[in-house]
């Protein structure tokens, strides 16, 4: 099974990506889709700016995807991560996991997101409604705790 991994500025269509993942397949019994969205942080935020490390972002997500494939019997896997300016209400990241049964698909999607948040080289910065450039978003301890449960 070859994972689909894309790093892109443009948005994505969850239904279209799911259709591509499952096209012609009769062995898939479960697809889990996780979409990470940009929220407005209580009306404060005009946009998030996502910086990434080209080359390493793809390589690191491929390593995370490979370790998910080792742990769960996946029939398909798609990860799309956007970069650039993303406004509240728009999507940031997509993880699709397909398997014969739901448990593997649920767990693998959760694993992938925990590792993406803490290991994939992306950094968020806030742009505020008042026009100023805000702070770089700080890493959260609970994200490190979330990833630790898989080891």
């Amino acid at each position: 099974m070859i994972a689909t991994i894309r790093i892109q500025a443009e948005g994505f269509d969850v239904a279209a990506e799911t259709a591509m993942l499952t096209a012609g397949r009769e062995d898939i019994g479960a697809v889990v889709a996780f979409t990470g969205m940009c929220r407005d942080e209580g009306g404060r935020l005009a946009a998030l700016e996502l910086e990434h490390y080209p080359g390493m972002a793809e390589a690191e997500i491929a390593r995370i995807a490979a370790s998910a494939q080792e742990r769960w019997p996946l029939a398909g896997l798609t990860v799309i991560h956007r970069f650039g300016r993303i406004c509240p209400g728009q999507e940031i990241v997509l993880v699709l996991t397909a398997s014969a049964h739901r448990q593997a698909a649920f767990e693998a999607a959760s694993f992938l997101m925990d590792y993406l948040k803490t290991q994939a080289p992306f950094w968020k910065r806030e742009h505020l409604k008042d026009g100023t450039v805000g702070a770089w978003v700080a890493a959260k301890a609970h994200d490190d705790e979330a990833v630790a449960r898989w080891s």
């Binding site: 990470g36 996502l50 910086e51 990434h52 490390y53 080359g55 390493m56 390589a59 690191e60 991560h81 940031i92 990241v93 997101m113 993406l116 948040k117 803490t118 290991q119 994939a120 080289p121 992306f122 950094w123 968020k124 910065r125 770089w136 978003v137 700080a138 890493a139």
Partner: protein
């Protein structure tokens, strides 16, 4: 050797990347950070809390004790906040 910087590490140093010739004795990531901090206050500022800074050699995460011999590109960046 090429060094690349991201997010607030890039902003504090004031450049995205640079090529450096390292003197003998700079063998590990920790040695490299020590050498960089001695180059100027912008590096001192970027690495002031060096335990926080993450490093990758040729697109792979490494620890401060990693040996840098043979590396093409070493990246320094803050903890990641994607997803």
């Amino acid at each position: 050797m090429k060094l690349v910087y991201f997010a607030w590490v890039r902003e504090r140093i004031g450049r995205m990347d640079e090529d450096v010739d390292l003197p003998d004795g700079v063998a590990t990531v920790a040695d490299l950070v020590r050498w960089l901090k001695a180059r100027g206050e912008e590096y001192e500022y970027a690495f002031e809390n060096e335990g926080v800074i993450r490093t990758a050699i040729d697109h792979v995460h490494v620890k401060p004790d990693a040996v840098i011999a043979g590396a093409r590109e070493i990246a320094f960046f803050p903890p990641m906040t994607g997803g």
